[in-house]
Amino acid sequence: MTYTDTILKSQRKSCGLCCTKLENFGVTIGKTEILSDLDLHIHCGDLTAVVGPNGAGKTTLLKAILGEIGHTGKLSFLDAKDCRRNPVVGYVPQRLDFDLGAPISVLDLFSACSSSWPVCLGHSRRLRERASASLASVQADHLLNRRLGDLSGGELQRVLLAMALDPGPDLLLLDEPVSGIDVQGKELFYNLVSDLRRQYDLSVILVSHDWSLLSRYADRIILLDRTVQCCGTPEEFFSNEKILRAYGPAVREDADQIRLGPKIIHRRGGVHA
């Protein structure tokens, strides 16, 4: 089964969410102002990349959108008719901090997300098939019965992506989903996300440090450092003098790494991420 079929099966009707609007958005924790004066307009079908130095508030922004942290200002989700609605939000965390020894299988985690039938009583066949199909869409169906602690970083992130996509979200939040994962793994992940948002009109907000990959996959790049410093299409973004001066070396370095990518794959002889 191709993954588009399986997604179609598990997907609700195409998303009606048209934009996510942040107006005068700010987050203050304790006495520290982490974000302030944010004005963003995220359209559906857009992959918006958020970049910025460590401590710039990127993860905080995602957590505030999720509702985990309180915020000031306005956050509204509007559909095509400009009506407010509660969107289904998919979220892939930066790193799943969990106990590596915990006896949780991939299927357990998946079912816990998508049904209310207590996981400790086992899984219905219907759920097992649904999980398997969803995992197949991220090329991870062979991991179904593995223990979470036994997965590699890339495998775990793909499982989390599959979970974030079921049920079909209106808004997908990815928090450095592939940091620490090899180049092939990154490309596989970004290709999947990029295809999905085109087909299903997802709004995607992606926090990342992979400059060169962003320039290929993102529709819009936002430089965040306490507030929006710069915002534009990749072309605009990378031609911006200020950006090049501050991040030039990092951008070039990453670009080099990508150029090396195909060589590595060639040498390993068809190893898949």
Binding site: K63, L66, G67, E68, V89, G90, Y91, P93, L96, D97, F98, D99, G101, A102, P103, I104, S105, L107, D108, L109, S111, A112, C113, S115, S116, W117, P118, V119, C120, L121, G122, N145, R147, L148, L160, M163, A164, L173
Partner: protein
């Protein structure tokens, strides 16, 4: 209860089942074991071993407050007190952002000290020592009924909330993105743990109640690969060590709770040795 007595007389015609108190205790073990087994799995998942320990120790202060207020049976006061304490700890955790073990360490020691100070006033501490060790054999039919309600309550809670508990324990942000009110769910779990620990404390004893909660789950964790195996293993281990401990305490005339915990510890040791085969 009559049905249970005749059932035991009919199917378990041994010397030890001639005593009514043993029949009561056996039933109590059969009821308490599953409760502790399934609660324990999630307590261990949430890394809350010290939390439940604190609740257990704080029961001392609960008893003291009950005595101060002049109640004969301080159980309800203890339950209310431990629930308040559970809420207070989880609020302290979110408000101060200090690490949980620091907060718990501070609270635990304070509560034990407070309890001892109040109870030992006038030199009458000895009559409360039954709470320290616990006496399962003294359980009466009315209290068994309370355990039945506890078991039903926990099973219902697990049926409705288990997936939410699990997600919140794996990753709060992930759970939040699934529309789960994480803080509420966590507090609910803390309260449930507090209630169950407090209810069982007079039969198991303050000193060892936490081991009964942690050991079976910790043992099961070593030999299981998914949630179902985890629960089944944990329940089997608790039931086996419960029954074995009850029997042996009868023949050795030892404290029942402690004997049960020793058997659970044996299982833990065994599971540790078996771990390489399962991991």
């Amino acid at each position: 209860m009559e049905i249970w007595y005749s059932f035991v007389d009919h199917f378990l015609p041994f010397a030890w089942t001639h005593h009514t108190f043993m029949k009561n205790a056996l039933l109590a073990v059969l009821l308490v074991s599953p409760v502790f087994a399934i609660m324990g799995t999630m307590v261990v998942n949430n890394k809350m071993a010290f939390f439940s320990d604190t609740i257990g120790h704080s029961a001392l202060t609960g008893i003291a407050i009950g005595v101060l207020l002049g109640f004969q049976d301080p159980l309800w006061i203890m339950v209310i007190f431990s629930v308040l304490l559970a809420v207070a700890i989880s609020m302290l955790k979110t408000l101060t952002g200090a690490s949980t073990d620091t907060i718990i360490g501070a609270v635990s020691a304070t509560m034990v000290a407070l309890g001892i100070v109040i109870l030992s006033r006038g030199g009458g501490f000895n009559k409360f020592s039954r709470f320290l060790v616990g006496d399962l054999l003294s359980i009466n039919p009315k209290e068994v009924l309370l355990l039945v309600f506890t078991l039903v309550g926990v099973i219902l809670l697990w049926g409705i909330m288990f997936n939410k508990f699990l997600l919140a324990s794996v990753n709060p942000s992930l759970a939040r993105s699934r529309g789960i009110p994480v803080r509420l769910v966590e507090t609910l779990f803390c309260i449930t743990t507090a209630v169950i620990v407090t209810i069982s404390i007079q039969w198991v004893g303050i000193l060892i109640i936490n081991s009964l909660l942690i050991l079976p789950a910790a043992a099961a964790r070593n030999i299981s690969r998914n949630m179902r195996q985890y629960h089944v293993a944990s329940i089997l281990i608790t039931l086996t060590s419960g029954i074995a401990g009850l029997l042996m305490s009868y023949y050795w005339s030892t404290a029942t709770g402690a004997t049960i915990v020793l058997f659970a510890a044996l299982f833990y040791l065994g599971a540790l040795l078996l771990k390489p085969r399962f991991a």
